[in-house]
């Protein structure tokens, strides 16, 4: 993300996350697998207060607190889904960058699939029609013979 201007609007929330980025916590994990899960979770959870940043990229207070929670939950043995549920129960769908597949998001997830098949259908119809035009232009054998005779005269 690139910022192109100073934020001039009045924030309702009083503390403005200073535009520092690269939130760096020195958390330790007993194994590499947990660390990877932690990293991937804080990538896909959204900072509730920022303007489109994930927990990994935000220096705001709430993001620091939420990263601490994710760390704690992962160490406690919670699964990825359980961590997501924890966050979603408190902050709603907003905090999940990966929208869940449910009634309200069917269009979102399956719309592109439908669109893709429409595109394939259009392709097939178009090219078939054009290539059948091409076939029609091929002369039949008798006509080809007649043409040859005419040309050799």
């Amino acid at each position: 993300m690139v910022r192109l201007s100073t934020l001039v609007m009045t924030l309702v929330i009083s503390f403005l996350s200073l535009t520092a980025i690269a939130a760096i916590d020195a958390y330790s994990f007993p194994d590499e697998g947990m660390r990877k899960r932690y990293n991937s979770l804080i990538d896909e959870l959204r900072c509730p207060q920022c303007l489109n940043t994930n927990l990994a990229g935000s220096d705001s207070m709430i993001s620091k607190d939420l990263r601490r929670e994710v760390h704690r939950l992962v160490l406690e043995g919670k699964s990825d889904d359980q961590v997501r549920d924890f966050m979603q129960q408190r902050y709603g769908d907003f905090i999940l960058y990966n929208p869940q597949v449910k009634g309200s998001t069917y269009v979102l997830w399956f719309g592109p699939v439908v669109l893709f098949f429409i595109a394939v259908a259009v392709l097939v119809r178009l090219v078939s029609r054009r290539s059948s035009l091409a076939q029609e232009k091929v002369l039949s054998d008798e006509d080809q013979d007649r043409l040859n005779q005419l040309l050799s005269k």
């Binding site: 924030l11 309702v12 929330i13 009083s14 503390f15 607190d65 929670e69 408190r90 902050y91």
Partner: protein
Amino acid sequence: MSSLNKSLLIPLIVFILLVITLGVGFSLKDPHILPSELIDRPFPDFQASELHDVDRTLTREDLKGEISLVNVWATWCPNCVLEHPELLRISKEEGVPLYGVNYNDEVIKAQAWLRRYEDPFVFNIVDDNGKLGIDLGVYGAPETFIIDAEGVIQYKHVGPVNRYIFDKEMKPVIEQLRANSVATRTAGVDS
């Protein structure tokens, strides 16, 4: 002008739908406010000390009994200073108890702050690591909740409270809750 091929109108129709979507986008509320996930859910359970009395332990039971306001605040929060006069007024005039959650703060600083600006709170829950805030879905300060007598969250306001906001948005909720509880009591008597 040749005859109209209707399928060529599709892009225009899609565009019109798009524009309607975008136009509606304007009527939506401030994109920076996150609506609360906890409406109609009980206040989260917690165990914390009171700001002025370290030995006293508070739990969510202490919030039950009557309709009340819970205000999340901190000394590092400039807007909390801005809204404080209104909180004082509410605590004195509106007949609703005001409880505080001192969020991600230091006890000494908070005590000094309240001495300086006056204390409208019945009591103050110390949330120095922000855990209660997270359970409440708080992401900044100040935020104010309206709790009913059973301790169920009914409303949340993000940002500083002023007279206008209180009268327009919060007071109606409180009156509604009062009316409901009277109705329940009356119904209970009748049955």
